[in-house]
Amino acid sequence: MPLITPDDLRKQLGADLPGAVASVHPVVEGLPAFLETGDLLIEADFLPRVAVYVRDVLGYTYLSDIVAVDYLDYQLFELVYRFYHLEGGRDLVIKVRVPRDNPSVPSLTPFWPGADLNEREAFDLFGITFTGHPYLKRIYMWDELDGHPMRKDFPKQGDKYLGDES
């Protein structure tokens, strides 16, 4: 079972793709420190190259899941990419952080057609635009909705319907 721990993955990537590994977010006083789970952090625009590197060099050919998490306090979105090796073993996690106002990440769909629906869902529920995605449209909501339901600042209750000012 091939297993790569995040640390030596970070060293290997640092060697092969300079500039890809992003610095860990400084601990901001007074804010919850739950961002630090020791996983690999990647600069947004290095993502396609890192993904191809992971697939071809390390052999993690199976992209299982793309999760978008909204950290309101830190004003940023975190995208968690999870890869698996077909011979089994633990996952390989790559995280990308983008600012909350007009977040955009290069799409993985050209390399993994499987990423298509996950990215459309992240776009629909969080508003993260994936540049290079062939058919980036809302997947659940109707197209005219101007708002992204899963964001932390999306109004949960309230009688006033989003968008109508009356």
């Binding site: 919850p32 420190a33 077909l86 011979e87 089994g88």
Partner: protein
């Protein structure tokens, strides 16, 4: 890519051979269907067992269902013969664990409802469909451990069974009645009057579960009944009958000395007699507790503190405590309102936590002077109103204290309070985040100081 597989091998499914003459395998398929057709005429998967009395009227609670002809028993190994159950006439015997909609239980003899409106089920219910208000003692306006109005919105309830699991008094149980379709939608908001079921009914549908819960339920009911003045806790439709019975029992019992009545451990019939006397000593007990708290506020350790670890107080001691409480109340004056009205409005999570912390502190001060950790399990699990809960809080406080002292040493040496608190998710719970961690340090420090000056 060759993927290694332990304890098993990779099997490639064999695609059908193309040698067989066309039409032969089609006839194999026909053969299978014909065998099913032939055997469907005389084999049945469900045997009809004439329904015995209890089974045939499982949902006799409401008179809608007509008695069934038979109940079917299923033979799982059969894979031929008809498996239809002709529903109204035949019914499958519902298993004990079957859960459809929650219902409230009341004791048959005394008519007292088991529910003490501790709001546990309202808080745990995922779709938030349970609503209740606590009963008030008409005379003194104080809250009484019984429920005034209990509403469940049957149309939104998803019968997940959490309320039945969480209820500490076994007052709410999942019913077996599934024929609930009605024409008018409002009738699906069911009030307490329609929710009540006698305990004997629940015993008939889930004998195993009730056997386990019986002991615990009745012990708690006994204590609660003592603290319910007048006919408050009695199931609505039984109130007239019970109060009438109480009236004559009261005159008969008036002659004997109050002490002769032993606290009814089991729901024995005579208990109905002493309910008349119950309201008086209930106020006494309430007053006693209030007095004690007031006394602690005042700083003097009243003699009543020893009453805390006495066995279940008999009425006599309760009356003594009442007298002491009355004069302490006059001296103490302000009793912390927050303490008793804890259950007034349904607390949100953090308010409950804070309340629990205060209660734990008082109990701890009373037991022995070590601060207790903020216990996660909200102590409101058993209402502090009576002594037993206080004793429990004390015990918890004591072993919480040792934990706190260890946490204090650790907190002292590790500079940043990294989240990897001691792995064991034991009772006292880990310091959750910086704020919680800092609180723990302060408490640990003064715990260490107090232990120091005690030796």
């Amino acid at each position: 890519m060759n993927i290694p597989i332990e304890r098993g091998k990779v099997v490639t499914v064999a695609r059908g051979q193309s040698t067989s003459v066309a039409g032969f395998s089609l006839s194999k398929g026909l053969g299978v269907v014909f065998r099913h057709w032939r055997r469907a005429w005389f084999e049945k998967q469900h045997q009809n067992v004439p329904a015995t009395a209890s089974e045939s009227a499982p949902n006799a609670g409401n008179d809608k269902s007509k008695p069934t002809a038979f109940v079917t028993l299923e033979d799982m190994s059969k894979s031929y013969g008809t498996f239809t159950v002709e529903y109204p006439e035949q019914r499958i015997k519902l298993p004990e664990a079957y859960r459809n909609m929650p219902v409230l239980l009341y004791d048959d003899e005394t008519g007292h409802e088991l529910c003490t409106s501790c709001f546990q089920c309202q808080r745990i219910c995922p779709p938030q469909v349970i609503h209740m208000t606590q009963a008030k003692d008409p005379a003194s306006g104080k809250p009484v451990p019984s429920v005034a109005e209990f509403i469940i919105e049957y149309d939104a309830c998803m019968s997940c069974g959490f309320c039945a699991e969480v209820c500490p008094f076994d007052a709410i149980k999942m019913d077996h009645e599934f024929e609930l379709s009605t024409h008018d939608h409002p009738s699906l908001t069911v009030y307490k009057r329609d929710l009540n079921r006698p305990v004997s009914y629940y015993e008939s549908i889930a004998p195993g579960f009730w056997a386990e819960a019986r002991e615990r339920a009745y012990k708690k009911l006994a204590t609660n009944m003592k603290r319910r003045p007048g006919a408050i806790g009695i199931a609505p439709h039984l109130t007239e009958k019970i109060t009438a019975a109480q009236a004559q029992a009261a005159q008969a019992a008036a002659a004997q000395a109050p002490a002769a009545k032993a606290p009814a451990k089991k729901a024995a019939a005579p208990r109905a007699a002493d309910t008349a006397a119950a309201p008086t000593d209930k106020e006494a007990k309430l007053a006693a507790i209030r007095a004690r708290n007031a006394a602690q506020k005042g700083g003097s350790a009243p003699a009543a503190g020893t009453a805390a670890d006495a066995p279940l107080p008999t009425d006599k001691e309760a009356k003594l405590a009442a007298i002491r409480a009355r004069n302490a109340a006059k001296k103490g004056g302000s009793t912390p309102a927050a303490e008793t009205s804890a259950e007034e409005s349904p607390p949100t999570d953090d308010k409950a936590a804070r309340l629990a912390a205060i209660r734990a502190r008082n109990a701890a001060k009373k037991g022995d002077a070590t601060p207790s950790e903020e216990s996660d399990q909200p102590a409101a699990e058993t209402p502090p109103a009576n002594d037993k809960a206080a004793r429990l809080a004390a015990i918890r406080a004591r072993n919480a204290a040792q934990k706190a002292t260890e946490a204090a040493e650790q907190a002292a040496d590790s500079a940043t309070s990294t989240p990897e608190a001691p792995a064991s998710s034991s009772e006292e719970g880990k310091p959750l985040d910086e704020k919680a961690a800092r609180l723990a340090e302060i408490r640990a420090r003064n715990a260490a100081r107090k232990k120091g000056d005690q030796e």
